[in-house]
Symmetry: C2
Subunit: 340 residues, 2 copies
Amino acid sequence: MTQKGITLKDVAAAANVSRATAARALNSYGYVGDETALRVMEAADRLGYRGNLVAQALRSGQLPIVGFVPGDIQNPFFARIAHDIEVELRKHRHNLLIASSEENVELEKELLDSLRALSVRGFILAPTSATDSEHIVQLARAGSPIVLIDRVVKDLQCDSVVVDNEGGAREAVEYLVANGHERIGLLRDDSRIFTAQERLAGYQNSLKSHGVAFDESLIGVSRSTVEHAVEATIRLFSRRNRPTALFTVDSLMTQGALLGLRSMGLSIPHDVSLVGFDDFNLATFTDPQITVIAQPISEIGPLAAKLLLERLAGKKVAPRDIRFPTRLIVRGSVARPHRR
Amino acid sequence: MTQKGITLKDVAAAANVSRATAARALNSYGYVGDETALRVMEAADRLGYRGNLVAQALRSGQLPIVGFVPGDIQNPFFARIAHDIEVELRKHRHNLLIASSEENVELEKELLDSLRALSVRGFILAPTSATDSEHIVQLARAGSPIVLIDRVVKDLQCDSVVVDNEGGAREAVEYLVANGHERIGLLRDDSRIFTAQERLAGYQNSLKSHGVAFDESLIGVSRSTVEHAVEATIRLFSRRNRPTALFTVDSLMTQGALLGLRSMGLSIPHDVSLVGFDDFNLATFTDPQITVIAQPISEIGPLAAKLLLERLAGKKVAPRDIRFPTRLIVRGSVARPHRR
DNA sequence: ATATGACATGAGATCGATCTCACATGGCGA
DNA sequence: TCGCCATGTGAGATCGATCTCATGTCATAT
């Protein structure tokens, strides 16, 4: 069934040389006679020889594969990054193996284990938990190059590419405050997640610096899917004395909030003002369009890939912590609150 | 740098047996004494032994990896399928390597080549071209199990999972005709793509069966991205005697059409009725919500994975061509046309 | 008592590419 | 002329897991 495949041995035989010489000719190292080299090359492409990557990997200890473990590949944010990483890696003849952790630490551990067993060369990782990081630290200690994206973890020094979550959240809340809001709701995901922590901090810092008291009852927690966010939004806005504005920490939650508010008959921005973290295509489809804190998504993937490739090439420098700024994009989802 | 890693040899030494015996104990085949087996197991997990998949692959000729080549991983349709496939494969300890073809035949060839060089065990593929299929046929002939999804190609008999594109398109157009439309526009992607051909056929067949003449000037062609679709929509609706209704062949195009029409100040469904192929989250976010032809996306990935796994397990049956039905979901984007 | 077969184990080959080392050959300086 | 070095090539080891085959033990049947 499975075709035999041309091996180096076949090429060597065809060129009437030993395997060693054939290898030398094809990989151009050591001494090889000019004429011999030519004969080998010629034989190789006459037979359509293509090296067996698995065999090479066995010797070198590593496959030309990089593992990517995002929180959720269906999240457009990660899908975009995955795509960008892949393009960058292909330029260097590497493959990308995506294993989505579903924001589940246990699954994350398993996935890393199985990628490790595959002897992938390096990892690009968006850790699910900022604190439960023992497995990642071990991975790093075992010598695997790692680049963290979107999130970092404690106890680990390695290259990372993240955005200014605290600053972005602060800017969002400040914008709402500037528009006269004080009862500002926050819809966030699990506090295990690094970005959730930072964005919460930005929210709190901003309130504090404007002398607005922090009110626990304005915080809604949800998993990062549209469906969960709908429910969380409804819960949050069903309480008495509901928020006049809402800040959502990622685009799926923003979409969920949109649906939830609509189902409650609350109109934006008339009844509720809304600012979301992370821009998304659909933000401009709705009426009104949604004001967001945009992240430079298109830069994250390529940069992460480059950092990793440098490590794979043996670059030894101190860990690089890249942090991109965010940007407020004002559209139409914020208005001054009504007096009741 | 890279940790040495525990090999079978280490385990064997620790358990005081030969590598052969250790292998037998761990993989439970052949004869092994009970006590010996226990000793080996114990040694294995005391040392934290985990087989080297690359070495295993060298012997068996195949890595526990399946390649997935979708048209575009950023398209939510394929992202969803990729995710589902991955989940299914993991149950069988296989990894999924995603390599997006960007709807480019040349890139598709390269990707398949590089996956082949990696000795992946099988392929799940959404071919970019329905006719330029020589490379896929060769791949199949070389013995690689292949499952085609969403699209099939000529000259190749293999398992496939697609939807009833012709029927779906027909139903969409029929619904528009039933609402009094005759000038029905079609926004479709490159006719190289299988689904585009079938959906065009459905469109034409439906018109014909209702005695509506086919008018070339009602057809817009665009790449399958929101941005391109916006432009194509604008071009299509800038002509004199524009369509009163539009049928778009996938969700990204539907979104593009939405934006394009809005930018031209055309309201839905007042000025233009709209039906899209493929349901999408945002279809319910817009006002009005969009009427669509839904495909059973959640079934495609798992089924494709299952079919492939069966082949990998050695199942020999005639190629299975699965074709799912589609379903019209009526929402609010269609109305009767105005008299002008 | 001896043959037979079920059970148990290890030595060594194998997968394919690459690397080390040993062995040639020839040219050139001393 | 001898010796050394640059050049060219091949035999064999190696990576780690697995498989074949040979060898060795016992217990039971004859």
